[in-house]
């Protein structure tokens, strides 16, 4: 069950019906999982073109969600874009090892998170020896500001909203590794604690503990701060 679902409806699973229940957990089978199984069969049969065409449909359905996760993990659009590309390519390359009783979304996210972690480590190593160009993050901020419609709010509101967002981003960035990962996946990407446990190899109760601590830190840091809602 997704955290907070007593206050908001749980995310609708894109299932193909109660009649097609996964073997594990009795969850409806998502369309992506069904498509992935078909891709697997096509690859095994040697029909590479058809497999790629079908996999492209999976990409279309999953790329936005994956990009959101990668963006919040890496906070760099170019890095996040490449991480998402790498994850999809890796998933296709290793489609033979995909287990059909699991969710394709969970499997793909696991690949993505591992890729993001590797990129973060590589970035940390590079930062010891090289200084990134000053405008590296500026392009991303420019894109965000251009996309914001100033007509909806006063300049003061926009400024406060931006400050609030910066504060939240800073707090999330300071979270310890596991807490940050759990928070991003549970809260930003709206995955259930159960799915996140599968993605990162922890028990569900441990995931909940990490989520609780992350939320508590966020709540403590945001207390008393003014923000435009």
């Amino acid at each position: 069950m997704t955290a907070g679902s007593s206050a908001r409806p749980a995310p609708a699973a894109e299932g193909i019906g109660e009649s097609s229940l996964a073997a594990v957990g009795a969850r409806p089978v998502a369309i992506e999982t069904t498509l992935a199984a078909q891709v697997q069969d096509l690859v095994a049969a040697g029909n590479a073109q058809a497999a790629r065409d079908l996999f492209a449909q999976i990409v279309t359905r999953q790329q936005r969600r994956a990009s959101r996760i990668a963006w919040h993990y890496l906070r760099d659009a170019a890095d996040a874009d490449e991480a998402v590309q790498d994850a999809f390519v890796k998933a296709y390359t290793h489609i033979a090892s995909f287990q059909r009783n699991l969710s394709f979304e969970v499997w793909l996210t696991r690949i993505l998170i591992n890729g993001c972690l590797d990129r973060q480590k590589a970035r940390t190593r590079r930062s010891r020896w090289m200084m990134p160009a000053a405008d590296a993050g500026r392009r991303d901020q420019d894109a965000i500001e251009r996309a914001t419609r100033p007509g909806d709010r006063s300049p003061e509101d926009l400024l406060m909203a931006r400050e609030w967002r910066d504060q939240v981003t800073a707090v999330v960035k300071r979270l310890p590794g596991r807490q940050r990962t759990v928070f991003l996946l549970c809260h930003y990407a709206d995955h259930s604690t159960r799915d996140v446990a599968e993605m990162i190899g922890l028990t569900e109760s441990t995931v909940r503990v990490h989520l609780f601590r992350a939320i508590r830190k966020l709540r403590t840091a945001m207390e008393g701060r003014h923000h435009a809602i």
């Binding site: 679902s5 007593s6 492209a56 790329q63 390519v89």
Partner: protein, 199 residues
């Protein structure tokens, strides 16, 4: 999911902040919230703030990853998948056309010059070797060893990232780490420019 029995006011009055967050994380019903208006208001406040955090994060990511960017991303993924099925063509080294052997004709003078140059080089090597064989060997061997070590080291470094890993390992494991760190502290990091990225 049913609420945990322990998520109830300890003092019999109101839920603590931690208990409210616990209720949120467990996504369960809490009977106390149904009975206590102040706690319900605080819980709704918490949910509202957290929901706003989530919606803002989603909005921010979507402002960066626009539909156009996602379209380009998809295209690149598809191209990479297509390239997987078609390994790069190997362009053969240009060879001479058969049936047209190149005939080099050297005049007598050129042949003598070439022979004299070869003889001079051979004599010089022999004399240098004979005059101080031990010094010669002493100079060659470590150079060969260093070259072999360097070659082996270079071969092991496949990417920039691997290069930095090696440096880190050397820095941490070296007995001269103190001197190296001092140099590192004095050295200005190289400023790099990232390649422009299509939006």
């Amino acid at each position: 999911m049913r609420s945990e029995p322990r998520i109830a006011p300890i003092s019999g009055t109101h839920l603590s902040d931690d208990q409210l967050m616990e209720t949120y994380v467990l996504a369960g019903e809490n009977r106390h919230l149904a009975l206590c208006r102040p706690c319900k208001t605080r819980f709704d406040d918490l949910v509202r703030v957290l929901e706003h955090v989530r919606e803002d994060a989603v909005r921010e990511a979507d402002q960066v990853f626009t539909a156009e960017r996602l379209h380009h991303q998809r295209d690149r993924i598809v191209r990479r998948l297509e390239r997987q099925g078609h390994p790069a063509d190997v362009v053969p080294f240009p060879t001479r056309a058969s049936g047209h052997p190149v005939v080099r004709v050297l005049g007598p003078a050129r042949r003598w010059v070439a022979a004299a140059a070869a003889a001079g080089m051979a004599a010089g090597l022999f004399l240098g070797f004979a005059v101080d064989r031990r010094t010669h060997y002493a100079a060659i061997v470590p150079a060969l060893q260093t070259a072999a070590t360097a070659a082996a080291w270079q071969a092991a470094i496949a990417t920039d990232d691997q290069f930095f890993r090696e440096i880190d390992a050397a820095l941490m494991g070296s007995s001269r780490a103190v001197e190296l760190r001092a140099i590192d502290a004095m050295t200005t990091p190289v400023e790099i420019r990232e390649a422009s990225y299509p939006r």
